[in-house]
Symmetry: D2
Subunit: 357 residues, 4 copies
């Protein structure tokens, strides 16, 4: 049996480069030879043991690659095609998918729902930080990459871009809206680009790292706030002359950013939450208007599926959003432990690393 290299989670604190057999596709799967992948903030949660996965699992959920072998029932694709697959791989036939909750997919469950069930790569099945990847429900999840786009150009599509954009989409940002985005890491930056694409005319971004705020401006921010220098809630209320924002996007996953997002909302506004939280959240009574302020709090897990991937690639190829600045570092798969070290410690201004086997 052929062997391949893979980034394997062993125990909290240890993701190592190991060896595994190259998997064999079942009837509905596709085997992808990975050409480029990356590390996500969620992988760091896994590394630290904050998000538990099984020991021995291959990590990673952002694949770009070449179809090596198709399952016997897979139609509409051919071997040798360059493809991506979303971080979330819905089956398309569960009750959850048919209810529109594609990311909460539970094909094997009694009622067809499973919390976070669409997130399989590097969570419940082996992931993309390897030489080969098995894509389940390949017909729903493989998306052909146009020749005109490089691997790095589409590397953000599977997760960061789809998630970030959904912050604006779930918040129903519309023409003329004022939007605040809390945190300008990779997801927050994509949320900024998504808010711009959705017609927001005032886009206020908040972060503590100046270089991120610079990129934020290039992606659409009209006002940037460094929270190390300025109180963001007060600053946003100043920018909006006391009105507040139509939509606040939380892109970090902390009580502080969640609460600030709530505090800057105008009555009737929407808090669109993207962050992965690690503890209970508090909704403060005042900003919540005691429940009478017609507020909405909407959480979104990265939308997946091939149509989503096609749309994300359309955005890139049309030049409507330029996410190249997000890839700041490049490593070979052999060096992935070094890459994890850099990324986990947020050294050297890292945003995203491109990993090539």
């Amino acid at each position: 049996m052929a062997k391949m290299k893979a980034a394997i989670f062993l125990e909290p604190g240890r993701i190592i480069l190991g060896e595994k057999p190259v998997p064999e596709p079942g009837p509905l799967d596709a085997l992808i030879r990975i050409t480029t992948t990356t590390i996500c903030g969620t992988d760091i949660h896994i590394l630290k043991g904050e998000y538990p996965v099984e020991s021995g699992l291959t990590i990673g959920h952002e694949p770009v690659g070449i179809i090596e072998k198709l399952g016997s029932s897979v139609q509409g694709f051919k071997e040798g095609q360059r493809v991506i697959a979303g971080a979330i791989t819905p089956c398309g036939h569960s009750n959850a998918c048919q209810c529109g909750a594609w990311s909460q997919d539970g094909p094997g469950t009694r009622h067809g729902f499973k919390p976070l069930g669409g997130w399989r790569f590097g969570n419940t099945i082996d992931g993309a930080q390897a030489e080969f990847l098995l894509v389940p429900d390949a017909m729903a999840n493989l998306a052909a990459v146009p020749d005109s786009l490089t691997d790095e150009q589409v590397l953000m599509c599977p997760d960061i871009m789809s998630t970030g954009f959904s912050g604006a989409e779930s918040g129903h940002v519309r023409i003329g809206d004022t939007v605040a985005i809390f945190a300008q890491g990779p997801i927050g930056l994509c949320a900024t680009a998504g808010a711009k694409l959705s017609g927001a005319t005032t886009i206020i971004t908040v972060d503590g790292i100046a270089s991120r705020l610079d990129i934020s401006r290039r992606l659409g921010a009209s006002h940037v706030i460094n929270f190390r220098e300025t109180d963001p809630v007060a600053a946003i209320m100043r920018v909006t002359e006391g009105r507040g924002v139509d939509v606040a996007i939380e892109a970090l996953g902390t009580q502080a950013t969640f609460q600030a997002a709530l505090e800057v909302l105008r009555p009737g506004g929407t808090l669109s939450s993207l962050g992965v939280y690690s503890g209970d959240l508090t909704i403060p009574l005042g900003p919540f208007g005691a429940g009478l302020k017609d507020l909405k709090i909407i959480t979104t897990l990265c939308p997946g599926g091939k149509e989503r991937m096609r749309r994300m690639m359309e955005v890139i190829s049309s030049g409507r959003a330029d996410l190249k600045p997000l890839v700041t570092h490049r490593y070979k798969l052999d060096e992935i432990e070094t890459a994890y070290d850099l990324f986990a410690h947020q050294r050297d201004g890292v945003l995203k690393v491109a990993i090539t086997p």
Copy 2:
């Protein structure tokens, strides 16, 4: 100057029947002679000092009456007409109204928004528990009552029914949905009726008072749970065979009901919150799926305006919902202090009291 009787808030613990001048309508106002009104749970919050209003204010926001006098600029109505007005009286011309946030109306403010600004009766202006009531922005807020309907039949329209129904509407209840409703006081009961009208096929209601659960069944509940006998979360998961509900409606305003509502949601479900909370809320990490469960939390303040009132009365006159069982007691305005005492202590199975001047 003519005088009238009115239920006046003096200080926490004291709402008394006093005397005030009959007000004179400004150009956009209408003066209504109240024929029937009622006491709301919110009025009890005011009585207890939990929701602060100015001393000397007339309480009450649920008017049925006869137009006594129209402001000089009011068109489309005539004196002597029987009308209701919603508890919330939006002006119709603020930026909030034009954004669809009719209840967060701020006509006199810089940006046109004011938290809870549409709630004026018995909050920021004199209310309906009196012989006469001044209705602001009368053209937006007066709704003619069909002759075929009695005062008592339309008495729930201004607040309880509009609020309760909005629980189902804001939750986007649709055909075939499973819905849970926490608390079956007047608002929760109306939420039950609203869920039925919206096409829910499984409606599970929770309360601790058997007589309320009985009415709940008549209004649409397919399953009722007495939380004094059964753990409601466990019971709802049993009824739904582990799936959870599409929409959970919170109709009380406590941490316990809010949290239970969150716990019974299926992934991708909606928590529609109607309650008036009196402290910070906690969102527990697990039921919240760490922010990755595609959940929505939507709060709604009673929708007002004459079109809303017209629709509520259409529901009554079409026989699609029978809310008569909600009026359990009747008092003269002269006896309103007794009525408050009964209502505040929830004695004698009281749901709503009809007050007639």
Copy 3:
């Protein structure tokens, strides 16, 4: 190879009971032993040659049956289960499905869309008027029937009920709406039930057959109009006192009903079209407000998929709609030519016939 009986289209005017081999399921299919099925108005279009299908095709798209054999890749079901499948059988993995256009499914096409592509049974593959039926993409389309429901109770779910209800759903009927429904054949009657379930308070139905109008009342109509006795447009404008209706549902497929539906709409209203038209349509300038009346015309093809079927069966089992009166006649499969003759000529007050192999 085992043989089975089937209703086969030969040429315009001829659907005969013939014999075919029992099909063998592919990996994603399920073979169903039909226990009850029915004839649809669309089948009569096929019979008459108005809707072309290939000679030799088995007709019918409304199956109730028992799983005889599952394809090798099908999970989540077991042989011997009683199931239904929708008239429309989306694959779940096409770009159309992932865009929400489940009925315009084109899994084998370049871009994933195909007009009417989800309608396969009795259109592009063999249908349900036979002893056995092959269900494609079985995991997306098989829906288990609760033991408490008879075959006849769920016989309307695959098409008539799902289509009729979608008339109200696509029209976004909401609480307090006034709705008119043109034609009260099986689909129109289900649209009436759907409008009621969606909260309409005034439901005006139009047909030329008194017995249908009687059933219409039982399913939710508040006003019925026999167009042979009364001009329906004038009558609807009378009932609504000149206002017009919020939503008009077209359930026949003719210029006359389409135009009448447009004429009774209030400004800003929605025409929800269910009919299968057989010629070009004219939009008259006046009722269309020269394009300035904020009107919507929305067409819907029967929604399918197992979650849709589950919801339809929930409506039946909850008692929220009683469609039993729709099954007026019963035949054995051996007598299907007689059944077609009765149904095509609309004799004996026929609404739907139950066919049992």
Copy 4:
């Protein structure tokens, strides 16, 4: 009584510069001294007698000006402020407004609806091509112009821009969509800008004038088609590789453009119609999929109101759309008959003319 100059419709073919008394504001009105206005294609329909208005009416519905005098009940504005008002001036308190159909406003009618009722300027009351203009329901309709914007920069907001943008908004254009826009006159050009602002990634525009197609590219078109050289339907199907577009916007008002828009739609797509039609329309059976293609046809009349105007001005001041190229000619009010002549005959590459009293 003071006199003012005004462009007055006398009879088909004759709009002349005449004299009228300066009007006196009623309690809810504002009197505006016009500083800049323009001529709309609809005014040409009026000039030609294709859209009937009363003889003696002042024409024009696109005002920029200074508040001269406020009605006695108007609050929130002050004399001397520079403002615009939308072409459509909803009252804010009719049932139509409260149903969301702001442009179909019927405040004086029995049920609160009137077809096109929100369009009052130059249609049912005196319009903006004059030295002074009476703005009805001033509190709902006056929008303060930021100092940073010139009259010409906001001149498109009252009609052209609001209408054009609504083509994308009513069509629910979203990120990654392919959109076709038929006709690139002022409204079509704004629809192009609106589609870009809404996230469309492929924008295909069609016109017969090369200079308009040039501007179209600058406003967002990725592909332009000159229908004098190329068959637009065939060309669009080529560009989309046979898929068709998600949204087609009709911005002219002819059978040819309406039909082409329908023909290029993918199944499940939306035809968003902005044109003013002058005759019955035909929906061809084939492109309509016999009513089974899940298509939507949505018409929109220019959205008005002060919040809409605020949002349009936000778009301009944020630099998200540059509509300066649309103002091609400038005239004094005294020269308005010359301006009408130029505009009516579409001479000299005219798009919009700025008229200054």
